[in-house]
Symmetry: C2
DNA sequence: GCAAATTTGTTCGTATGTATT
DNA sequence: CAATACATACGAACAAATTTG
């Protein structure tokens, strides 16, 4: 036959899950029942379930059982500028407007689909069962924390300041309703913040409503001439896993958006701001637009 | 103490790996030796090692042993247009130019660092030990495969064609030297390809040297007015894991770049091309530039 | 609020299979 | 072919988390 027993068991369960025979959220038989069903030892059953856990198909809860995981509906963030507002997406509050816009689009789309379905079979199809599991509620940001620290190597390199130089660190948590959505940390060279008359608002633990880029331009005359975003995928660290409620193994990666803002100097564009935004990769997608493109976004489907 | 024994053992080994006490590529003691060292059963040792495997810290090879994994040095791809060439990055051959450019930059940077180090201590520091593990060799593309298929749902939706309509599918594999780098699949509505006098080159299994966007403009008068790239992260499917040589559990995710090209019509921008590029997430990073930004790229470091 | 039942988690021991050197 | 090292599979006992009565 095909490979070890635990893999055959796992494959069989996988087929049942992917075919829909076992629905998202459904409870699987317990280990003893599986033991009889597949005529294998408990440890072998457990190996099969571990195989499914690693692949994100099921999750176990002590004292409760094993469950088919519910796929989360991705939130889509636009990284290119909005030609209307000129705002760069993916940055804290700027992204909230987009979330609300897309959500309205999506709801309208669904309403139409439902209407069409109603005409078809007459029967109301379990209305709002929401198998997808979409975070609901208002977008919301925590109060910023403000610190002055010595720059770690990866920050110093990007801000082109000496290793260990002081940086002002602003950190914020973003939520959609009660669901954690993103973590954002911004670094400014401390020298810069104390230029001229300084930028006092930056040191305070409250939102800068006008946006930091505008604030720095108005107070310090610091003009952002351009920026660069680096996108990378990695395993979450412990704090991130805790905040997002991700499993403590690294099987759900995070996307890290590293944005460096530049000001124009005699030596060319020079970095003055570094913002790192971290989001869980299993519930976020990103979009870059160029030229003329449709206003509406296709559904955030998978590509296979 | 803190939690189950296998976790304590795993934590201890993790510390040794992250502190550098165990270097990348180093062989760990075998299971029996660990059994003595930690005074635990073989199964417990194996549980500890499994914990490390899931997190990508070590890998096991039957008959050989357990090894600390070598981190791969990421390849950086620019997704925004190059203002000089106007080329959109991340698309097949267009990206090769960038790889070569960045590589030259990187080598120069390293040469300078080495020179500086030589002045400092006089001792030659193990020269080119290349702990990073960077794919070497010339960028190279496989011959394209060409098929006509019925559009799967996710393709039909993005191309706004009926579900199951025919599409022309071109597929290519990209390598750097002998290392697999990316998989790329492009879908065209079949109706479009047979417009007017048709686009015969598109049906042939060979490279279109001028680039497909230019070719379609010249033959069909099809002008791309804009595009949208959607970025998502997911587990590789079986074929992708095989091609990239990824572990067959899903612990190394892939990044999927879904690019829709639009032409200008009376109804607004309408999709005419869909390109899906898939790359392993553990060895690729992406960059988006806007406005004025430095020519050179900071090293592809991690953000923590 | 507490005790019992249920379910998964951890740890041991042992034997045999499979891949590599 | 033999030795080495990890992989699979079984059985057993107790621990920890959760729900139920």
């Amino acid at each position: 036959m095909a490979g070890p027993m635990y893999r055959q068991i796992a494959q069989d369960l996988r087929r049942k899950i992917e075919s829909g025979e076992l629905e998202p959220g459904a409870r699987l038989p317990n280990e003893m029942e599986f033991r009889e069903e597949y005529d294998a030892s408990r440890n072998t059953i457990r190996d099969a379930i571990k195989w499914l856990i690693i692949r994100g198909l099921v999750e176990t809860k002590p004292g409760q059982g094993t469950f088919v995981v519910r796929q989360l509906e991705p939130i889509v963030t636009t990284l290119s500028e909005d030609p209307d507002t000129g705002m760069a997406g993916g940055e804290g509050k700027a992204a909230f407007a987009e979330i609300n816009k897309r959500r309205a689009q999506r709801d309208e789309q669904r309403r139409q689909e439902r209407e069409k379905a109603m005409l078809g079979d007459g029967e109301s199809p379990a209305a709002d069962q929401d198998l997808g599991g979409r975070p609901e509620g208002e977008p919301r940001a925590s109060a910023p924390t403000v610190e002055v620290k010595f720059a770690p190597a990866y920050v110093a390199e990007r801000l082109r300041i000496p290793d260990g130089a002081e940086v002002l660190v602003r950190h914020q948590e973003f939520f959609i309703g009660r669901t954690p959505w993103s973590l954002q940390t911004t670094f400014y060279p401390f020298d810069l913040v104390s230029r001229g008359k300084g930028a006092p608002e930056l040191m305070r633990a409250r939102d800068i409503e006008v946006g930091t880029v505008e604030y720095l331009r108005d107070t310090l005359g610091l003009v952002q001439c351009g920026y660069r975003v680096r996108i990378l995928v990695r395993r979450p660290n412990e704090a991130e896993a805790r905040f997002f409620g991700l499993p403590d193994d690294g099987r759900v990666p995070v996307v890290s958006l590293i944005r460096t803002g530049y000001e124009d100097t005699a030596d060319g564009p020079y970095p003055f701001r570094l913002t790192i935004t971290v989001l869980p990769a299993d519930r976020n997608q990103f979009v870059i637009n160029s030229g003329k493109y449709p206003e509406e976004l296709a559904a955030p489907a998978r590509d296979q």
